[in-house]
Amino acid sequence: PGGTTKTRRPDNTAFKQQRLPAWQPFLTAGTVLPTFFIIGLIFIPIGIGIFVTSNNIREIEIDYTGIEPSSPCNKCLSPVETPCICTINFTLEKSFEGNVFMYYGLSNFYQNHRRYVKSRDDSQLNGDRSALLNPSKECEPYRRNEDKPIAPCGAIANSMFNDTLELFLVANESDPTLMLIPLKRRGIAWWTDKNVKFRNPPGTESLKERFKDTTHPVNWLKPVYELDPEDEDNNGFINEDFIVWMRTAALPTFRKLYRLIERKNDLHPTLPAGRYYLNITYNYPVHSFDGRKRMILSTVSWMGGKNPFLGIAYITIGSISFLLGVVLLVINHKYRNSSNTADITI
C-alpha cells in the first residue's frame, strides 16, 4: 500500500546511469613533465618580446612639484603667489617619433577613496535637467553653493586638475627663440565617455543659458561652460580635460592624458632631441598632502605605454616553470622505481 510502489521507470540514459564518457587525466611527473618545459619555452620568448617592445618606447618624466628648494617651482608652494608661473627646462636625448602623448601625473592622490569616488552625479553629467538643478545627495558637501546647485557637483569635479602646461622647444642652442609645441586639446577622452556618458544639458540656446541657475564648483575660478576659451565645442560637461579627470584612477599614483602632440610627417620626428622648456601655470596644490606632480611625455607602441613589468613577469614565470620542470625531471628519474601498484590486493 502506498506511494513508493508506483512504477517509475527512468530512462536508461548514460546521463541518468552516470555512464557519461569522462576523460580523467591523471597527472604524474612522467606524463606532464613536458608541460612545464612548454610553458617555459613559450613564456620566455613572449616575455623577451614584450620587454624589448616596452624598452623601445620613449618616455620622459618631469617632476615639477617644486619640493626641492632649487626647483624653479619652489616659489609656487606658498599660497600667496597667485598666479604663479614657473618654467622647468629639460633635454630629450633621443627624438620622439610618432604621436606623442603628454600626461600629468599625481602621486599620493587618493582618487580611489570611497567618499571621493561616489561624490558625483552621473545623471547630471549626462545632461539631465532635473539633476542639473537638483544634484544627487552623493555630491555633498559640494552639492549647493549659496543656494545654487553646483554644476558639475561633487568632490571629483571640484578638485579638477587646473595647472596649465606649455611646452617650448629651444630650437637652437645659440638662438634663444622658443618654439611653442602645438598641443592638441581634443581627442584625449574615450569616445564612449564623450558621446554617451557626458552630455551637456539639452537646448539650442547658448551654453551659458543652459547652465543658468547653477554655480561653478567652489574651487573653480570659472564656470564649466568656459573651461576651454579657445574651442566653443569643448565646453560644458563635454570638456575633454574634465572628462579625463572624471575617470577616477585606481591607484593613488596615477597619470592622466593631458594633451596630444600629433605626428607632423615621416621626415621630422614629432619631438626632436634637444632642449625644452616646460612652462607651468602652477595652480594645483598638492603639497598639503605630500603629493607630487609630474609631466610625462611618452610615445606608445601596440601595447600602450612603457611598462617593463609584464615582460619581466613573463620571463620570471617562464623560468620558474622551466626550473620546476628540471627539478621534476630529476626527482622523477630518482624515484621512478619506487612507485608501483603492487599494494593493491583484490
Binding site: A22, F26, A29, F101, R114, N158, G187, T192, L310
Partner: protein, 1143 residues
C-alpha cells in the same frame, strides 16, 4: 496509505510504543509508561453510537502538508531565515539599505538572495503539492457506512465518530474502531498490523461475545447506546472503554476489540465496527511526527567553516577598520579635495559595517542553493539507478532525503535488522534426516541467480531419494512414514481450501514450511475440525483425533500433540530443539549419533533445525496424566507454569525419528554483499528482535561468522552476572581489546539491558568493538535504538541502520543514516528512512559507489565554492591597502552580484554532479577504496584552511599582477588613461577565468566590455595571470600524484591506463565467483584463551523455531475454534447472501 505518518512521536529513547502484542518484555516497559500517564487526570469521551450528530469530534480527513495557501509565505520565510546563512544575508541586505553604508550598492545582495529564495520556494511548493495530492488520494478512499437505515458508500473523510462502518476483506480500516461483529466464528477477525508495528504475522481481534450476540440477533437500526472511552493517545496497545447499550449491562472493551486505522483486514469476509477516533485523533496519526532533521557530518563541518569564515570576515573588517583609522589620522586632515571638512567623521561602528558589507561575500551566498541543487540531482541519480532496480516488485531505490547523500560515503558501522533485511522472511523446508539418513543434501542450482523460480515455490525440498526409499520398502520406510505423518499432524496450521489447492494459514512460518514440505511429499494435511485433523496419504485418508496440544513456548523449546491414531493407538508427537529432545530420549532410541552429526551439518549451513520424536502412550498412562492436566488447567494462579510442569510429565521416553532443516531464506547476494562491506572496513552488527538461535543461524548462513569463530555469549540474568562476564572477557582479550579480532559477540536483550547501564556500557562497547561480528538478539525496538545511540556517542564514526519493519524505526531514526528495505508489507521503516532500497544487496552500490561519489562531489563542490568566493572578495582587502581603507570596491556592482549567480555558478554544479574520483568499476572492484573517504580526511578544517590560503595566494596574484601591469594607466594604443573600473574589469575577468580553469572546465560566459578586450595588455595578462596562479597548484598536484600517492591515486592511475570498460554486471559476476571461493574474512585461528564459560568454541546448534506466544487466543483455542470442513459451505453461502442475514 501514503504519507509519512511516523511512529512514536517521543524521542526514541523515551519509548517506541509500537511493540508487538506478543512481546511481554516490552509490555512491561509499556506498563511503566502507562502508570506514568495515569497520574494525569483521564479525560473521558462519550460517543453516541449511530448518532453522528451528537458527536462533535474532528473529521476523518488528514493533511500532511507543510503549508497551507495562506500560511505559505510567512512560514516559508520563517524557515528560510532560520537558516543561519540566509539570516546573515538578510541582515546584510538590511544594512545595505542604510544610506551611505553600502560600498557596493543597495541591491547587490538582495538580488541574488531573491533568486535563491525563489528557487527554493518553487521546490517547496512542488514538494508540498505532492503531499497534498497524496493526502487527497487517502481522503477520497471509500468505505461503507450505516446511515439512515441503509448502507451508504462514502469517502473516508466523511466518516464521523459514532458511525457504524463495514469493512471487507483486504480493505484498510478508515478510522479507529471498536469491533462489534465479524464474519468469522466467535466474532474473530484477522488484521495485518504491518503498517503499524512491522510484524508480519496476523493479529487476532475478537469482539465481546455479548455484543456480537446482540448484533446477530437484532438489527443495526436499533443499535442504540454510547461508548465511553479515554481521550485519544498514541499508545497502540492501550485502550480502555465501556460500551453501554440500551437495556444492557455495560460491556468493557479493550485493545482486543480495537481496530486501528492503517491496519488491513485479512482472512475475514467482513467486520462491522463503531468509529471512535477519526482523522488526526487516530492512534496512527497521533504517532505521526516529523522525522528528526538529520544533518550530515559534512554539513556540520561546512557550518563550522562558514562560522570560521564569518569570524575571518569580522577579523578582516576589524583590520580594515583599524587601517582606516590610522590612514584617516595620517592623511585625512590634509586632504582638501575630499571635502571632508564639512562632514563629521564617521564613527567606528559605521566603518565596521561598511567593511562587513564590503567583504560579506566571503561567505558564499550561493553555496546553500548550489548544495541543495547538487544533492537533489545526486538523489535523483540514486533514484534512477538501474543497478538498484528490483525487477520483481519494480522497485527502485529511493532517496527520501538528499541531506545525507555524502554521509553514505563515510559509513563505519552498519546495524542491520535480520528479518526481511538479511532474510526474505520466508521459510523453506530444505533438508531432513530420517532414521540416520540425510535427505535433500544434493546441491540445487536454483540457489542463487535464478531467484524468481525459487521464490515461487516455497518448498525446495526435492530429493527423490526420500520417496524412493519410502515406496521401495527401504528398511527405514516406516520411519519415513511416521516422520511425515508427524509433520502433518503436529502443528497449529489451519488449512484453507482454495479451489483444488490448499492454502495454509499459520502464525508460525516454520510450521507452514513443514506442512507444505510434507504436502509436496504426498502427505497432505486437508481438514481441521476442532477435535481432529485429516491427512491424505497416497489417496488414503487418515483422521487423527487430537486429544491434547502441549503448547510451544520459548522456554520449553518444543511442542507436542497427543493424538489417537486412525488405528486407535495413543501417540505423542513432539518436535523441538535438539537439546530438549535429546534429554528426553528413551534408551531404545536409535540413530542418536547419526542425527547429531547431521544436525551439526545443518547448523553450520545456517539452517533452522527441529528434532522430531514420538512416543507411544498407554491408555492408563494417558488417563492418569489427563487428571493432572485438568487439575493444572483449573488453577487460576501460575496456570501456565503449572501446565508446563504437567506437560513435562508426559513428554519423556521419546523415540527419535530424525530432524528437519528449514532454510530461513537469505535475500539474494547477502553473503557476497556482507563480504564486500567487510572489506570496505564497515563493521556489521546484526540487531534483531528474533531469538538468539535464529540470529546465530543467519550469521552463519550469511557468512558473517564461520564455524571456527569463537562465539562469546552474553546471557546474564542480573547486573552482577553481566558485569562479571563482560569483565572476564575483556580480561581474556588483554591487549587485543580494541583491535578487531575474529570473534563473535552474541548478546540478548535482557543482558543488554544490564550491559547498557552506565557503569559498564563503556566496557561492553570496548568488548563489542573488539569483535568482528556482533549479534544482538531479542531486542526491543527501543534497545535497537539504544545500541545505535551508544556507538554513535562513543565512536566518532558514521552509523547506518538498515531495517524493514516498524521495530527498526527507532534505530533507523537514531542512526546517522537510516535505510529502509522497501517492498515488504510494512511501510513504517521506509517512511522513516532516509534512503529506501528493495534489497539488502543494493547497499553495496549505495555505499561504495553513490556514497563515495557523493562525498567526493559534495566536498569538492563546497571547497570550490569557498575558494572562488575568497579569491574574488579578498581582492577587496588588497584594494583597501591602496585606497586608504575607505571601503571602495574595485568592481562594478553588478559584477559582484552576478559573480555567484551567473559567472561562476556552473563550475560548482558540474563538480557536484559529474565529478568522479574513480569509476564505478574500480570502486566495486576495490572496496578498500571506501576507507579513503571513511576517515573524513578529504574534508576537514585543515583542508579548508589549505584551500583558503591557496585562495589568498591566488587573489594576491590576481590583484597585484594586473595592478602592476596597469601601473602607469597607459595601456591603450590611443594613449587614453584608465580608471579604477577598468582595472576592476581586468581583475574580474582574470578571476573568472582562473576560477573556471581551476575547476578544470571550459570558460563560462564571461565576456566583458569591448574596451577591455581590445586592450593588448589584457590578452597578454590573460595568458600570464591564470598560469601563474595555477602553476603552483598544478605542481602540488603533480608532486602528490607522483610521490605521495595513496590508494585512491593508485586506482586513478590504473583507470586512466585501462581502456576496456567492463559493465557493472560483469564485475558483479566476476566478483561473486571470487567471493564464493574466498571466505570473506581471514581464517586464521583465534589464539585467545578464553576462560569464561560464556565463550562457545564448539560447533553451533541449529535449533530455531518461531511461534506466536501469549496471544489473546492461545494456540489450543485457535486450533479448536476452526472447523474447516464446515467452513467451506458457510463461506460460500455468506458470499452469496451478501451479509444480509444479519440485518
Amino acid at each position: 496509505m501514503s504519507r509519512s505518518w511516523l511512529l512514536c512521536g517521543m524521542k526514541p529513547l523515551q519509548g517506541s510504543t509500537h511493540f508487538s502484542l506478543g512481546n511481554q518484555k516490552v509490555e512491561k516497559r509499556m506498563g511503566c509508561q502507562q502508570s506514568l500517564q495515569s497520574s494525569e487526570v483521564l479525560k473521558v469521551r462519550t460517543i453516541y453510537i449511530n448518532d453522528p450528530l451528537k458527536n462533535t469530534f474532528c473529521t476523518n480527513s488528514i493533511s500532511t502538508t507543510k503549508y497551507s495557501k495562506w500560511s505559505f509565505l510567512p512560514r516559508y520565510l520563517y524557515l528560510q531565515f532560520s537558516k543561519a546563512a540566509n539570516a546573515f544575508f538578510l541582515f546584510i541586505t538590511i544594512l545595505q539599505q542604510i544610506p551611505g553604508v553600502s560600498p557596493i550598492g543597495q541591491y547587490t545582495t538582495l538580488l541574488p538572495l531573491l533568486v535563491i529564495l525563489a528557487i527554493s520556494g518553487i521546490k517547496e511548493v512542488v514538494e508540498d503539492y505532492k503531499r497534498y495530492m497524496a493526502d487527497k488520494v487517502v481522503n477520497s478512499k471509500t468505505t461503507s457506512v450505516f446511515r439512515q437505515n441503509s448502507w451508504h458508500v462514502i469517502k473516508w473523510h466523511e466518516v464521523n465518530v459514532g458511525d457504524i462502518v463495514k469493512t471487507l476483506n483486504e480493505e484498510f480500516l478508515p478510522a479507529d474502531m471498536i469491533l462489534i461483529s465479524s464474519s468469522e466464528p466467535q466474532s474473530m477477525c484477522y488484521v495485518a498490523t504491518a503498517n503499524l508495528d512491522g510484524e508480519t504475522n496476523l493479529k487476532i481481534r475478537q469482539a465481546s461475545l455479548e455484543v456480537a450476540g446482540i448484533i446477530k440477533e437484532g438489527q443495526l437500526v436499533n443499535l442504540d447506546g454510547k461508548i465511553e472511552c479515554e481521550e485519544p493517545d498514541r499508545q497502540f496497545n492501550n485502550f480502555v472503554g465501556t460500551l453501554y447499550l440500551r437495556g444492557k449491562s455495560p460491556i468493557s472493551v479493550g485493545p482486543d476489540q480495537m481496530l486501528l486505522r492503517g491496519t488491513q483486514l485479512k482472512n475475514t469476509q467482513w467486520i462491522i465496527g463503531v468509529v471512535i477516533y477519526t482523522g488526526f485523533e487516530t492512534k496512527l496519526m497521533q504517532n505521526s511526527v516529523k522525522s528528526p532533521l538529520k544533518r550530515s557530518q559534512v554539513e556540520k563541518v561546512t557550518n563550522m567553516q562558514i562560522l570560521i569564515l564569518l569570524l575571518l570576515l569580522f577579523v578582516i573588517s576589524a583590520v580594515s577598520c583599524v587601517g582606516a583609522t590610522i590612514w584617516n589620522k595620517m592623511y585625512l586632515e590634509n586632504i582638501w579635495y575630499m571635502g571632508i571638512s564639512g562632514i563629521t567623521p564617521h564613527n567606528h561602528v559605521f566603518d565596521i559595517l561598511v567593511f562587513i558589507i564590503l567583504y560579506h561575500n566571503l561567505v558564499p551566498i550561493s553555496l546553500l542553493l548550489t548544495l541543495e541543487t547538487v544533492k537533489f540531482i545526486q538523489a535523483q541519480f540514486i533514484n534512477w539507478d538501474e543497478d538498484m532496480h528490483y525487477e520483481q516488485n519494480d522497485l527502485y531505490a529511493m532517496a527520501r532525503t538528499s541531506n545525507l547523500n555524502e554521509e553514505l560515503g563515510q559509513v563505519k558501522y552498519l546495524f542491520s535488522d535480520k528479518t526481511g533485511t538479511l532474510t526474505c522472511n520466508t521459510m523453506a523446508f530444505k533438508k531432513c534426516t530420517i532414521a540416520g539418513i540425510i535427505y535433500g543434501n544434493h546441491s540445487d542450482n536454483t540457489d542463487d541467480g535464478n531467484e524468481n523460480l525459487s521464490r515461487a515455490s516455497f518448498c525446495e525440498f526435492n530429493d527423490p531419494k526420500l520417496l524412493e526409499n519410502f515406496e521401495d520398502g527401504h528398511p527405514s520406510s516406516e520411519y519415513i512414514k511416521e516422520f511425515l505423518t508427524l509433520l502433518c499432524v503436529c502443528h497449529t496450521v489451519i488449512p484453507e481450501r482454495c479451489g483444488n489447492d490448499i492454502l495454509y494459514q499459520a502464525s508460525s512460518p516454520d510450521e507452514a514450511a513443514l506442512v507444505k514440505g510434507a504436502k509436496k511429499l504426498g502427505f497432505v494435511f486437508t481438514t481441521r475440525t476442532p477435535y481432529s485433523v485429516t491427512i491424505e496419504v497416497m489417496t488414503e485418508t487418515h483422521t487423527f483425533e487430537i486429544l491434547n496440544i502441549l503448547e510451544f513456548s520459548s522456554n520449553r523449546k518444543r511442542m507436542s500433540i497427543i493424538v489417537r491414531t486412525p488405528a486407535g493407538h495413543l501417540r505423542l508427537y513432539c518436535k523441538g530443539a535438539d537439546t530438549v529432545i535429546y534429554e528426553r530420549l528413551s534408551k531404545d532410541s536409535l540413530f542418536v549419533e547419526d542425527t547429531l552429526k547431521h544436525l551439526e551439518i545443518f547448523a553450520t549451513e545456517g539452517l533452522r533445525t527441529l528434532c522430531i520424536a514420538y512416543t507411544d502412550l498407554t491408555e492408563t498412562e494417558y488417563q492418569d496424566w489427563l487428571q493432572e492436566y485438568k487439575k493444572a488447567s483449573a488453577v487460576s494462579q501460575n496456570r501456565i507454569q503449572r501446565l508446563e510442569e504437567c506437560y513435562e510429565i508426559i513428554e519423556k521416553e521419546f523415540l527419535l525419528l530424525g530432524a528437519t532443516a528449514i532454510e530461513d531464506r537469505l535475500q539474494a547476494n547477502v553473503p557476497e554483499t556482507i563480504s564486500t562491506l567487510l572489506k570496505a572496513n564497515i563493521k556489521i552488527w546484526v540487531l534483531t528482535g528474533d531469538k538468539q538461535e535464529t540470529a546465530v543461524n543467519i550469521a552463519f548462513s550469511c557468512k558473517l561468522i564461520s564455524s571456527t569463530t569463537p562465539r562469546i555469549y552474553l546471557n546474564a540474568d542480573s547486573f552482577e552476572a553481566a558485569q562479571q562476564t563482560i569483565n572476564h572477557n575483556c580480561g581474556d582479550l588483554g591487549n587485543l581489546l580494541g583491535k578487531e579480532n575474529d570473534l563473535a559477540l552474541i548478546i540478548d536483550g535482557e543482558t543488554l539491558k544490564y550491559a547498557l547501564r552506565f557503569e559498564i556500557q563503556k566496557k561492553f562497547l570496548d568488548l563489542a568493538l573488539s569483535c568482528r561480528a556482533v549479534l544482538c538478539c531479542r531486542l526491543s525496538p527501543l534497545q535497537k535504538a539504544e545500541i545505535v545511540d551508544l556507538v554513535k556517542k562513543h565512536e566518532e564514526a558514521i552509523t547506518l541502520a538498515v531495517g524493514d519493519g516498524a521495530n527498526d524505526v527507532g534505530m533507523i531514526r537514531m542512526a546517522h543514516v537510516g535505510v529502509g528495505i522497501s517492498g515488504n508489507e510494512g511501510m513504517q521503516a521506509t517512511n522513516n528512512s532516509d534512503y529506501s532500497i528493495a534489497q539488502f544487496r543494493y547497499l553495496e552500490k549505495l555505499l561504495l559507489v553513490h556514497g563515495t561519489w557523493n562525498y567526493f562531489r559534495v566536498t569538492k563542490c563546497i571547497l570550490y565554492s569557498f575558494y572562488k568566493n575568497v579569491v574574488l572578495y579578498i581582492i577587496g582587502l588588497w584594494f583597501s591597502f591602496v585606497n586608504g581603507f575607505s571601503g571602495q570596491i574595485i568592481f562594478e556592482h553588478w559584477c559582484i552580484s552576478l559573480y555567484n549567480v551567473i559567472f561562476t555558478s556552473l563550475p560548482p554544479l558540474t563538480l557536484g554532479i559529474f565529478e568522479k574520483c574513480c569509476s564505478q568499476k574500480s570502486l566495486l572492484e576495490y572496496p578498500q577504496l571506501y576507507t579513503v573517504f571513511q576517515t573524513g580526511e578529504m574534508f576537514n578544517t585543515k583542508v579548508f584552511w589549505i584551500q583558503c590560503i591557496n585562495a589568498l595566494i591566488h587573489s594576491f596574484i590576481l590583484f597585484w599582477f594586473p595592478t602592476k601591469m596597469l601601473e602607469h594607466d597607459m595601456i591603450l594604443r590611443h594613449g587614453y588613461t584608465t580608471d579604477y573600473l577598468f582595472l576592476g574589469n581586468f581583475i574580474y575577468s582574470y578571476v573568472v577565468v582562473t576560477v573556471c580553469l581551476k575547476a578544470g572546465l571550459e570558460t563560462t560566459s564571461w565576456n566583458r566590455i569591448n574596451m577591455v578586450l581590445s586592450c593588448p595588455h589584457f590578452w597578454m595578462g590573460f595568458l600570464l595571470v591564470p598560469t601563474t596562479c595555477l602553476i603552483q597548484n598544478f605542481f602540488w598536484k603533480l608532486i602528490k600524484n607522483t610521490y605521495k600517492r595513496g590508494l585512491l591515486e593508485e586506482i586513478q592511475e590504473l583507470e586512466s591506463r585501462k581502456d576496456s570498460i567492463l559493465e557493472h554486471s560483469e564485475i558483479f559476476e566476476k566478483r561473486m565467483t571470487a567471493a564464493s571461493l574466498a571466505v570473506s574474512f581471514s581464517t586464521q585461528p583465534c589464539e585467545i584463551f578464553f576462560r569464561d564459560d560464556s565463550v562457545d568454541l564448539s560447533a553451533p546448534h541449529g535449533y530455531a523455531f518461531s511461534q506466536t506466544e501469549g496471544a489473546v487466543v492461545t494456540q489450543e483455542e485457535l486450533v479448536r475454534a476452526y472447523d474447516t470442513a464446515k467452513m467451506e459451505n458457510s463461506r460460500i453461502s455468506k458470499r452469496s447472501s451478501d451479509f444480509s442475514e444479519i440485518f
